[in-house]
Symmetry: C2
Subunit: 117 residues, 2 copies
DNA sequence: GGGACAGATTGATCATCGTCAATGTATGGT
DNA sequence: ACCATACATTGACGATGATCAATCTGTCCC
Protein backbone atom coordinates (compact mmCIF):
# COMPACT_ATOMS: atom_id res chain seq x y z
CA UNK A 1 0.00 0.00 0.00
CA UNK A 2 1.00 3.55 -0.27
CA UNK A 3 3.20 2.64 -3.15
CA UNK A 4 4.13 6.10 -4.11
CA UNK A 5 1.78 7.23 -6.82
CA UNK A 6 4.57 9.67 -7.30
CA UNK A 7 4.98 9.13 -10.98
CA UNK A 8 7.95 10.51 -12.83
CA UNK A 9 8.27 14.15 -13.23
CA UNK A 10 11.63 12.46 -13.15
CA UNK A 11 14.07 14.87 -14.59
CA UNK A 12 12.14 18.03 -14.82
CA UNK A 13 15.28 20.05 -14.97
CA UNK A 14 16.73 18.12 -17.86
CA UNK A 15 13.38 17.79 -19.53
CA UNK A 16 12.40 19.89 -22.48
CA UNK A 17 12.87 23.32 -21.11
CA UNK A 18 11.77 25.22 -24.13
CA UNK A 19 8.88 27.23 -25.21
CA UNK A 20 6.25 26.28 -27.74
CA UNK A 21 7.78 28.95 -29.93
CA UNK A 22 11.24 27.42 -30.04
CA UNK A 23 10.24 24.81 -32.58
CA UNK A 24 7.18 22.80 -33.60
CA UNK A 25 6.56 20.61 -30.59
CA UNK A 26 7.00 16.85 -30.78
CA UNK A 27 3.82 14.76 -30.59
CA UNK A 28 5.04 12.95 -27.47
CA UNK A 29 5.78 16.13 -25.60
CA UNK A 30 2.55 17.63 -26.85
CA UNK A 31 0.68 14.77 -25.25
CA UNK A 32 2.47 15.17 -21.93
CA UNK A 33 2.04 18.92 -21.85
CA UNK A 34 -1.60 18.70 -22.86
CA UNK A 35 -2.20 16.33 -19.97
CA UNK A 36 -0.89 18.95 -17.55
CA UNK A 37 -2.94 21.70 -19.12
CA UNK A 38 -5.98 19.46 -19.01
CA UNK A 39 -5.65 19.32 -15.26
CA UNK A 40 -5.85 23.12 -15.24
CA UNK A 41 -8.73 23.27 -17.68
CA UNK A 42 -11.58 23.10 -15.19
CA UNK A 43 -12.80 26.07 -13.13
CA UNK A 44 -13.46 24.12 -9.97
CA UNK A 45 -10.10 22.40 -10.21
CA UNK A 46 -8.39 25.76 -10.60
CA UNK A 47 -10.12 26.89 -7.43
CA UNK A 48 -9.06 23.78 -5.56
CA UNK A 49 -5.51 24.22 -6.77
CA UNK A 50 -5.53 27.87 -5.86
CA UNK A 51 -6.62 27.09 -2.34
CA UNK A 52 -3.67 24.76 -1.98
CA UNK A 53 -1.23 27.11 -3.67
CA UNK A 54 -2.33 29.99 -1.48
CA UNK A 55 -0.91 28.14 1.51
CA UNK A 56 2.56 28.43 0.07
CA UNK A 57 4.93 25.70 1.18
CA UNK A 58 2.56 24.40 3.80
CA UNK A 59 0.59 21.29 3.08
CA UNK A 60 -3.17 21.66 3.00
CA UNK A 61 -5.56 19.16 4.51
CA UNK A 62 -8.32 17.97 2.24
CA UNK A 63 -10.73 18.59 5.08
CA UNK A 64 -10.05 22.31 4.71
CA UNK A 65 -11.27 22.20 1.12
CA UNK A 66 -14.58 20.45 1.57
CA UNK A 67 -16.02 23.63 2.96
CA UNK A 68 -16.36 26.82 1.02
CA UNK A 69 -16.15 25.41 -2.47
CA UNK A 70 -19.72 24.24 -2.78
CA UNK A 71 -19.08 20.78 -4.17
CA UNK A 72 -19.35 17.35 -2.67
CA UNK A 73 -16.55 15.50 -0.94
CA UNK A 74 -16.19 12.85 -3.68
CA UNK A 75 -15.84 15.56 -6.29
CA UNK A 76 -13.09 17.28 -4.34
CA UNK A 77 -11.36 13.95 -3.95
CA UNK A 78 -11.69 13.41 -7.68
CA UNK A 79 -10.15 16.78 -8.51
CA UNK A 80 -7.29 16.33 -6.07
CA UNK A 81 -6.51 12.98 -7.63
CA UNK A 82 -6.41 14.53 -11.08
CA UNK A 83 -4.07 17.25 -9.90
CA UNK A 84 -1.75 14.70 -8.30
CA UNK A 85 -1.79 12.51 -11.41
CA UNK A 86 -0.86 15.55 -13.48
CA UNK A 87 2.11 16.17 -11.22
CA UNK A 88 0.87 19.54 -10.02
CA UNK A 89 0.28 18.43 -6.45
CA UNK A 90 1.77 15.84 -4.16
CA UNK A 91 -0.22 13.88 -1.63
CA UNK A 92 0.93 12.95 1.85
CA UNK A 93 -1.07 10.85 4.26
CA UNK A 94 -0.91 11.89 7.91
CA UNK A 95 -3.00 9.59 10.01
CA UNK A 96 -6.56 10.03 8.88
CA UNK A 97 -5.81 13.15 6.94
CA UNK A 98 -4.51 13.66 3.43
CA UNK A 99 -2.30 16.69 2.89
CA UNK A 100 -1.55 18.25 -0.44
CA UNK A 101 1.28 20.50 -1.59
CA UNK A 102 2.10 22.20 -4.85
CA UNK A 103 4.97 20.99 -7.04
CA UNK A 104 6.80 24.17 -8.05
CA UNK A 105 8.84 22.43 -10.75
CA UNK A 106 5.69 21.49 -12.63
CA UNK A 107 4.55 25.09 -12.75
CA UNK A 108 7.99 26.21 -13.84
CA UNK A 109 7.86 23.76 -16.69
CA UNK A 110 4.49 25.06 -17.85
CA UNK A 111 5.68 28.65 -17.61
CA UNK A 112 8.59 27.69 -19.82
CA UNK A 113 6.26 26.30 -22.45
CA UNK A 114 4.31 29.55 -22.44
CA UNK A 115 7.32 31.78 -22.98
CA UNK A 116 6.10 33.32 -26.17
CA UNK A 117 6.54 36.76 -27.59
CA UNK B 1 -15.46 39.70 -2.27
CA UNK B 2 -12.90 41.63 -4.19
CA UNK B 3 -14.02 43.38 -7.30
CA UNK B 4 -17.49 42.62 -8.59
CA UNK B 5 -16.79 44.76 -11.58
CA UNK B 6 -17.42 43.82 -15.15
CA UNK B 7 -14.30 42.59 -16.76
CA UNK B 8 -12.59 44.90 -19.20
CA UNK B 9 -12.14 43.04 -22.43
CA UNK B 10 -9.29 45.16 -23.63
CA UNK B 11 -7.24 45.94 -20.59
CA UNK B 12 -5.07 42.90 -20.27
CA UNK B 13 -2.38 44.70 -18.34
CA UNK B 14 -4.71 45.89 -15.64
CA UNK B 15 -6.44 42.56 -15.51
CA UNK B 16 -5.80 40.11 -12.73
CA UNK B 17 -2.08 39.97 -12.79
CA UNK B 18 -1.64 37.58 -9.94
CA UNK B 19 -0.75 34.05 -9.44
CA UNK B 20 -3.01 31.28 -8.26
CA UNK B 21 -0.97 31.34 -5.08
CA UNK B 22 -1.72 34.95 -4.24
CA UNK B 23 -5.18 34.13 -2.93
CA UNK B 24 -7.98 31.66 -3.55
CA UNK B 25 -9.11 32.48 -7.04
CA UNK B 26 -12.56 33.97 -7.68
CA UNK B 27 -15.05 31.72 -9.46
CA UNK B 28 -15.42 34.17 -12.34
CA UNK B 29 -11.72 34.39 -12.97
CA UNK B 30 -11.40 30.65 -12.54
CA UNK B 31 -13.89 30.20 -15.35
CA UNK B 32 -12.05 32.57 -17.65
CA UNK B 33 -8.65 31.10 -16.90
CA UNK B 34 -9.92 27.55 -17.27
CA UNK B 35 -11.25 28.44 -20.71
CA UNK B 36 -7.77 29.49 -21.78
CA UNK B 37 -6.17 26.38 -20.34
CA UNK B 38 -8.82 24.27 -22.02
CA UNK B 39 -7.61 25.59 -25.35
CA UNK B 40 -4.16 24.28 -24.47
CA UNK B 41 -5.43 20.95 -23.19
CA UNK B 42 -5.32 19.02 -26.44
CA UNK B 43 -2.15 17.54 -27.95
CA UNK B 44 -3.02 18.33 -31.54
CA UNK B 45 -4.00 21.87 -30.64
CA UNK B 46 -0.68 22.35 -28.86
CA UNK B 47 1.07 21.23 -32.01
CA UNK B 48 -0.96 23.61 -34.15
CA UNK B 49 -0.25 26.43 -31.75
CA UNK B 50 3.42 25.57 -31.63
CA UNK B 51 3.67 25.71 -35.40
CA UNK B 52 2.23 29.20 -35.34
CA UNK B 53 4.32 30.32 -32.38
CA UNK B 54 7.48 29.01 -34.00
CA UNK B 55 7.07 31.63 -36.71
CA UNK B 56 7.56 34.38 -34.17
CA UNK B 57 5.91 37.64 -35.07
CA UNK B 58 5.11 36.50 -38.58
CA UNK B 59 1.61 35.43 -39.39
CA UNK B 60 1.15 31.83 -40.47
CA UNK B 61 -1.13 30.78 -43.27
CA UNK B 62 -3.55 28.01 -42.45
CA UNK B 63 -2.52 26.34 -45.67
CA UNK B 64 0.91 25.76 -44.16
CA UNK B 65 -0.65 23.75 -41.35
CA UNK B 66 -2.80 21.34 -43.30
CA UNK B 67 0.33 19.42 -44.27
CA UNK B 68 2.55 17.69 -41.79
CA UNK B 69 0.12 17.40 -38.91
CA UNK B 70 -1.78 14.38 -40.13
CA UNK B 71 -5.31 15.62 -39.56
CA UNK B 72 -8.02 16.79 -41.88
CA UNK B 73 -8.60 20.36 -42.97
CA UNK B 74 -11.88 20.77 -41.04
CA UNK B 75 -10.17 19.61 -37.86
CA UNK B 76 -7.37 22.12 -38.27
CA UNK B 77 -9.94 24.82 -38.88
CA UNK B 78 -11.76 23.71 -35.75
CA UNK B 79 -8.62 23.91 -33.62
CA UNK B 80 -7.63 27.30 -35.00
CA UNK B 81 -11.08 28.62 -34.18
CA UNK B 82 -10.79 27.37 -30.62
CA UNK B 83 -7.42 29.02 -30.21
CA UNK B 84 -8.76 32.32 -31.54
CA UNK B 85 -11.81 32.14 -29.29
CA UNK B 86 -9.52 31.57 -26.33
CA UNK B 87 -7.59 34.70 -27.22
CA UNK B 88 -4.34 32.87 -27.86
CA UNK B 89 -4.30 33.57 -31.59
CA UNK B 90 -5.60 36.29 -33.84
CA UNK B 91 -6.95 35.70 -37.31
CA UNK B 92 -6.41 37.90 -40.29
CA UNK B 93 -7.93 37.30 -43.71
CA UNK B 94 -5.71 38.06 -46.67
CA UNK B 95 -7.50 37.38 -49.86
CA UNK B 96 -8.26 33.70 -49.95
CA UNK B 97 -5.91 32.91 -47.12
CA UNK B 98 -6.33 33.08 -43.38
CA UNK B 99 -3.30 34.08 -41.37
CA UNK B 100 -2.81 33.47 -37.68
CA UNK B 101 -0.55 35.12 -35.13
CA UNK B 102 0.08 34.54 -31.45
CA UNK B 103 -1.17 36.99 -28.83
CA UNK B 104 1.78 37.48 -26.46
CA UNK B 105 -0.33 39.16 -23.77
CA UNK B 106 -2.45 36.06 -23.39
CA UNK B 107 0.58 33.92 -22.72
CA UNK B 108 1.96 36.48 -20.30
CA UNK B 109 -1.29 36.35 -18.38
CA UNK B 110 -1.16 32.57 -18.14
CA UNK B 111 2.47 32.65 -17.03
CA UNK B 112 1.42 35.05 -14.31
CA UNK B 113 -1.20 32.63 -13.07
CA UNK B 114 1.39 29.88 -12.89
CA UNK B 115 3.86 31.86 -10.82
CA UNK B 116 3.96 29.45 -7.93
CA UNK B 117 6.70 28.46 -5.60
C1' DG C 1 -19.85 34.56 -65.53
C1' DG C 2 -17.41 30.14 -64.66
C1' DG C 3 -14.12 27.31 -62.70
C1' DA C 4 -10.65 26.53 -59.19
C1' DC C 5 -9.11 27.08 -54.69
C1' DA C 6 -8.96 28.25 -49.31
C1' DG C 7 -11.16 27.43 -45.52
C1' DA C 8 -15.35 27.61 -42.60
C1' DT C 9 -19.60 25.16 -41.22
C1' DT C 10 -22.73 21.16 -40.59
C1' DG C 11 -24.01 16.74 -38.87
C1' DA C 12 -22.76 12.44 -37.03
C1' DT C 13 -20.07 9.37 -34.13
C1' DC C 14 -17.38 7.97 -30.38
C1' DA C 15 -14.83 9.10 -26.31
C1' DT C 16 -13.96 11.72 -22.21
C1' DC C 17 -15.28 14.36 -18.26
C1' DG C 18 -17.64 16.65 -14.09
C1' DT C 19 -20.75 15.67 -10.72
C1' DC C 20 -23.28 13.25 -7.25
C1' DA C 21 -25.29 9.49 -4.07
C1' DA C 22 -23.99 5.34 -2.29
C1' DT C 23 -20.57 2.47 -0.71
C1' DG C 24 -15.92 1.02 0.62
C1' DT C 25 -11.46 1.43 3.28
C1' DA C 26 -8.56 2.78 6.53
C1' DT C 27 -7.40 5.23 10.91
C1' DG C 28 -8.06 6.97 15.74
C1' DG C 29 -10.38 7.09 20.00
C1' DT C 30 -12.82 4.79 23.83
C1' DA D 1 -14.26 -4.70 19.79
C1' DC D 2 -16.86 -0.86 18.43
C1' DC D 3 -18.01 3.38 16.45
C1' DA D 4 -17.00 7.79 14.36
C1' DT D 5 -14.14 10.21 11.20
C1' DA D 6 -11.51 11.20 6.71
C1' DC D 7 -11.11 10.10 2.43
C1' DA D 8 -11.29 7.07 -1.81
C1' DT D 9 -13.86 4.33 -5.11
C1' DT D 10 -17.89 2.87 -7.81
C1' DG D 11 -21.60 3.47 -10.92
C1' DA D 12 -24.62 6.37 -13.30
C1' DC D 13 -25.92 10.40 -16.04
C1' DG D 14 -25.74 14.47 -18.66
C1' DA D 15 -22.56 17.46 -21.06
C1' DT D 16 -18.72 18.52 -23.75
C1' DG D 17 -15.25 17.59 -27.20
C1' DA D 18 -12.24 15.63 -31.16
C1' DT D 19 -12.58 13.97 -35.52
C1' DC D 20 -14.15 13.21 -40.23
C1' DA D 21 -16.89 13.37 -44.76
C1' DA D 22 -19.79 16.27 -47.00
C1' DT D 23 -21.19 20.73 -47.97
C1' DC D 24 -21.22 25.70 -48.02
C1' DT D 25 -19.01 30.47 -48.54
C1' DG D 26 -16.12 33.37 -50.14
C1' DT D 27 -12.03 34.93 -53.23
C1' DC D 28 -9.08 34.92 -57.25
C1' DC D 29 -8.16 34.39 -62.20
C1' DC D 30 -9.44 33.76 -67.13
Amino acid sequence: MATPTLLPLSDVSAEECCSLAAAPIEPAQAARSAAMFKALADPMRLRVLSHVAAQGCDAVCACDLTEGLGISQPTISHHLKKLVEAGLLTREQRGRWAHYTVVPEAFAQLRGLLEIG
